[in-house]
Amino acid sequence: MTLDSPLLSFLTVLLLLSAVGVITLRNPVHASLSFLLSLLSLAGIYLELSASFISMMQVLVYAGAILVIFMFVVVLFQDAYQQIDISKANSRAVFLIPTAAIFLVAMLAYGWEFVHLPMLHIELPTNFGSIEGLARTLYIDFFFPFEIVILIFLISLVGALYIGKKEEL
């Protein structure tokens, strides 16, 4: 299986750069916008991997819903960030070492696995990743997990409402 288009390389570089931006930019609004860029480049990668419905969901759910909640919270907390900027972060650069270790171990494990991964030459159907095939799998093979996920979502919404409401005296 060959996946070597220049577009894919470009999107991957964009993804990693914006991901680094999320954790290095000090201003939370800039970090959120950098996160948005990484989400959009990930959606482009999904399109290249013939997962069009997942790509659409990525844009709608992540960029449309989750990031908007983030921006609301950031706007709510504007003065708190100024306090953080004043109280100059003690740099915890020590933790870069375990991060690098995790990365190396993961890369070694991947390399070990994929030396033995058989190269398949499956003919993908032309509409692979479309909403029709995905829905067929969702409602036939994954019906019970689907119901459970609905329940989780409902419970989390009720919990968020309960946690977030002001205490009434």
């Binding site: 299986m1 996946l3 894919l8 390389s9 991957t12 993804l15 990693l16 991901a19 680094v20 999320v22 954790i23 939370p28 970090a31 996160f35 990484s38 989400l39 990930l42 990668i45 991997l49 013939s50 997962a51 419905f53 997942i54 969901m57 990525q58 759910v61 989750i66 909640i69 983030f70 907390f77 708190a80 960030y81 306090q83 740099s91 915890r92 933790f95 870069l96 375990p98 991060t99 990365f103 993961a106 890369m107 991947y110 994929f114 398949l120 499956i122 993908l124 990743g129 995905l134 799998t137 969702l138 994954f142 997990p145 996920v149 989390s156 919404l157 919990g159 968020a160 409402l161 977030g164």
Partner: protein, 97 residues
């Protein structure tokens, strides 16, 4: 394909790095979302590699769980900020007011 494995691992490592080195509670959430995205990327990659929909199905579930986690987590952060006027996680060191 190797490039995307590298990207997924690097994305996960960047997320861990953000959690370990950061102090801002909101950046923590962004880092967690980035780690979930790294897992999603591998799922989509393998769905294409094996030619079936199971991987993409799990991406769907991960998306829903991520949305639920953001809702609950941000509600907790709002409450913490309301009681402490801080979002710096190093200062949340008491369980009780």
């Amino acid at each position: 394909m190797d490039l995307l494995f590298f990207a997924s691992t690097a994305l996960f490592a960047i997320g861990i790095c953000g959690i370990l080195t950061g102090r801002n509670a909101l950046i923590f959430f962004l880092s967690i979302e980035m780690m979930l995205n790294a897992a999603n990327l591998l799922f989509v990659l393998f769905a294409r590699h094996w030619g079936n929909y199971t991987g993409q199905m799990w991406v769907f579930f991960v998306l829903v769980v991520a949305a639920a986690e953001a809702a609950v987590g941000l509600a907790i952060v709002i409450n913490l900020f309301r009681s402490r006027q801080r979002v710096d996680v190093d200062q949340f060191n008491r369980l009780r007011e």
